[in-house]
């Protein structure tokens, strides 16, 4: 089966869509030859056949040859990842504080929180009703390693209640953390797992309980024989998907860590999908933080019942119309994330992506509280976006969405994993293989969105400051406008230096009157953002829409069909 040159497919099976790419060696270097995406649930083989067919028609010489002819695409290897549907946990703790600590860890590990039990908020009837609810995967009881007096007093009664719940709910496993394990006597031992106490100080760094929960999610999926619904509904035997594709989010994390090592840069990556959102921070030294959040899905399930969540999405939208109709449209986006992606639908989707990024960023900052790694506030060298949420938006508009929501003073490059290849590459076991492939494919798989310089604190005056861009021997000078986004054309492949000179100084992580930043070009060019931090949008819908539209206009050029 060895062919020369080598070709392989990558497959990222998400909850709403499947992305496939064809990669082959061209003149000794791996290149991305073709890629496409389709709604989850459709058979994958025809998609791969189309990719191979398209390349075969255009450049047959790029494909592997066997016996003088192009080898059958069905023989080419596949690097495949799948996003597991989020698991659902019922949380219990003896105090509200412990419950909050537990929830932060559990939700940060990509679990959906189905309910919360504590003596202060639930009586025995409510607690039992929650435990009898459908779709529960795990009961998690949180306690400190060394419980406080209040916790110690409340634990025995809570334990008796939860033990009774488990007697009625015989299909429900239970994770006892910290001192909750002391209550294990008389519990159904076969269904009990013991774990470490939730950390008292939030941190983005890898946490033992979060790691355990990630493993538990994988194990529960394996026990349930669960594969993503679209795999299960495929024609039996017709798909070549292996029995258990690697977990897409874990693989994405691994890929970002490898990418940071390859580039020698601090990389911040966000991946927003239909089922959850994820953020990863890595430096050349390794993984610095990771957070996976069900609430950071493009449109979280809670939107179906919560108008405020729907309105938070619409607050980023330039769409006009009756609020009730727009809310219904947001809810339909939750039901069918792949539909209605043209015209206004694409704008609504990017509004939902912005709202998801805000939720992700808020949780990221909370999780970073006191972690000591200053992850949340330090700007990255490169910000990478990935996930189906960005699939139908123009690249410059994606850059603006990132800048609107993940606001850190300073300069950074922005890139987009447009073919969703990073996660499949991250599924490679060998770090060396990952780095070799990333080195080869970097220019193909990461679309340069451009560079952004976020400089706040610019005071309005007759001449607040000047922006000079020097690139390839040419210089451009423009007047800085406080509270605005200014777009400077800097095409992909070009690099340059940006000098900001502000009469009263500006803030790029430090206050300075004159700052110079190295930047690279991209499809969105150079974005100089002097808007406030955090960004505050007008309360009145009309004014808010007008402002959003004004910011977006230069970056979202609508083409005719």
């Amino acid at each position: 089966m060895a062919h020369d040159p080598l070709a392989f497919f990558t497959l990222d099976r998400g909850s709403a869509s499947t992305a496939a790419a064809l990669i082959a060696q061209v003149e000794g270097r791996f290149r991305l030859l073709a890629h496409a995406a389709q709604p989850a649930g459709l058979p994958v083989d025809p998609l791969l056949a189309r990719l191979a067919g398209d390349v075969g028609m255009a450049e047959p010489g790029l494909l592997p040859v066997e016996g003088g002819e192009t080898s059958p695409w069905t023989d080419w290897p596949r690097l495949e990842v799948a996003t597991r549907p989020p698991r659902s946990a019922l949380l219990a703790a003896a105090t509200e504080r412990r419950l909050a600590e537990l929830e932060q860890v559990v939700s940060g590990a990509g679990w959906a929180v189905a309910g919360r039990i504590s003596p202060d908020r639930t009586d025995a009837l409510e607690a039992t009703a929650l435990a009898l609810g459908k779709g529960l995967d795990l009961l998690i009881v949180g306690a400190a390693g060394r419980p406080t007096g209040e916790e110690r007093r409340a634990l025995p009664d809570l334990a008796a209640l939860l033990q009774a719940v488990l007697e009625r709910r015989r299909d429900l496993p239970c994770l006892l953390t910290g001192a909750a394990a002391e209550a294990i006597e008389g519990w159904p031992a076969a269904r009990i797992v013991l774990g470490p106490a939730p950390a008292r100080t939030a941190s983005l760094a890898p946490d033992p309980l979060r790691s355990l929960l990630r493993r538990a999610a994988g194990e529960l999926a394996r026990q349930a024989g669960q594969r993503p619904p679209h795999v299960a509904s495929g024609r039996a035997g017709a798909e070549r998907a292996p029995a258990g594709p690697a977990d897409g989010r874990a693989a994405f994390t691994a890929a970002i860590a490898s990418l940071a090592a390859v580039l020698g840069q601090r990389i911040d990556a966000v991946d927003v999908g239909a089922a959850a959102g994820q953020r990863v921070l890595a430096t050349p030294e390794g993984l610095r933080g990771q957070l996976e959040l069900v609430d950071a899905a493009l449109v979280p399930e809670a939107v179906l019942e919560d108008d405020r969540l729907a309105d938070a999405i619409l607050a980023w939208s330039t769409l006009r119309g009756d609020t009730f109709v727009l809310r219904d449209r947001v809810r339909n986006l939750r039901l069918w994330p792949w539909r209605d992606a043209a015209g206004e639908g694409a704008r609504l989707r990017l509004a939902a992506a912005r709202a998801a990024l805000v939720r992700l960023d808020t949780a990221w900052r909370l999780a970073d509280g006191g972690g000591g790694n200053a992850a949340a506030d330090a700007p990255a060298d490169l910000l990478v976006a990935s996930g189906g949420a960005f699939a139908v938006a123009p690249a410059p508009a994606i850059a603006l969405a990132l800048l609107d929501t993940l606001r850190r003073p300073g300069g950074m490059a922005l890139a987009y994993d447009h073919a969703r290849v990073l996660a499949p590459l991250g599924s490679l076991d060998d770090e060396g293989d990952r780095r070799r492939l990333l080195t080869d494919l970097l220019d193909d798989i990461l679309v340069p969105l451009g560079s952004a310089v976020l400089a706040t604190g610019l005071r309005a005056s007759r001449h607040p400051g000047t922006l000079r861009v020097r690139s390839h021997g040419q210089a451009l000078e423009v007047e800085l406008v406080p509270g605005a986004i200014q777009v400077v054309d800097l095409p992909p492949g070009q690099t340059g230096t940006v000098e900001l000179e502000a009469r009263d100084g500006t803030w790029l992580g430090m206050r300075a009157k004159r700052v110079a930043v190295e930047v690279g070009g991209g499809l969105g060019g150079l974005l100089v953002d002097t808007r406030e931090l955090p960004l505050r949008l007008p309360e009145r819908p009309e004014r808010r829409r007008d402002l959003l539209a004004a910011w977006e206009r230069p970056l979202w050029q609508e083409d005719a069909e």
Binding site: N332, A342, A393
Partner: protein, 352 residues
Amino acid sequence: MSGMIVRAAGERALRELVLPRPGLVREPLLHFPLGPADRPLVQRGQLVTPGSPLFERIPDAAVAELELHAGEEPPAPGTLVDESTPLRIAAGRSLRFEGHGRVLYATPAHRLRAAIGRHPQTVSSPVAGTVELVSPAAVSVRASGLGLPGTLAAGQPAEGRLAIAAPGPDGELAGSSIDVASAGAILVAGARVDLEVLGRARAMGVRGVIVGGLASRDLRGFLASEARQRAAMHGGSPFALLVLDGYGRRPIPLAIWQNLAALEGAPVAISIEPPLLVLSADAAWARPSSGRVRIAAGDLLGREGTFLGPAAGLRGAAGVEQPAGRVLLDALEDETSGTERTLPLADLERLA
């Protein structure tokens, strides 16, 4: 011959490119969730018919507690509690709760807590079938019929005779069209229904409404009204709402509408979990002809037609390309022939 080959190739392309609309499910499994105090009235394997009691719901359940003496063995969690039958705790000692329900747990301080209510309501099966599971969390019944999947459902599972109540699949159910003759019926309501009409339907003894789309604010209002009904001492007859498509105004697919119209007068049921319309096993259900698609999003929402094949991608926002297909749309009333359109594949659904 070549026409057949072209049709087969088109059909194959359609299967490979366009997601199907969920079709009929044979012998669907229906779930009836139980609350902490609710009490099943059936056993696994038992045959049920429409109207057979399934479980007793205790809508006014609250926590009640009695004292245990040291050394007394408390009854197991979930033990049935009945005010007429005392719980034996130890030789010569029994406890009696003032109501019906189930034991929750015994506290370390020797308090026996139970979920107790005074006004149990019997919930009946809306379908014929076999009880497949009885657990503390739910009763599950394998219906001996066909299930037409919907997107969401609310209310209580209900059964009744099917009645077409809207002028067409994209019409609306008017309040004035509901009268006492509608009592006991499950109405097919077209593309949308509002909260006021739902209230009138319930008041007139209608058992359920099937609709293409529903505004989420009306759904919210309906759920609040349902909660009030359930909390009342006499919950009234069950009333179910089945939304076939999604939020907002959404026409019922023509093929489904025509099949439902052909079944008018037949006994049907609405399941809440999962959201389904349950038809009898021998219900005649015509399949759409091959190649049929429906537009499920965008300006042409609800229009149907015949898939002609893939097309060059549509260029959308700033050059972002969407895979597309050619569809011959069915002619409207004022048109002499259908029109061909190139549409995003993601906005189509295959009428399997």
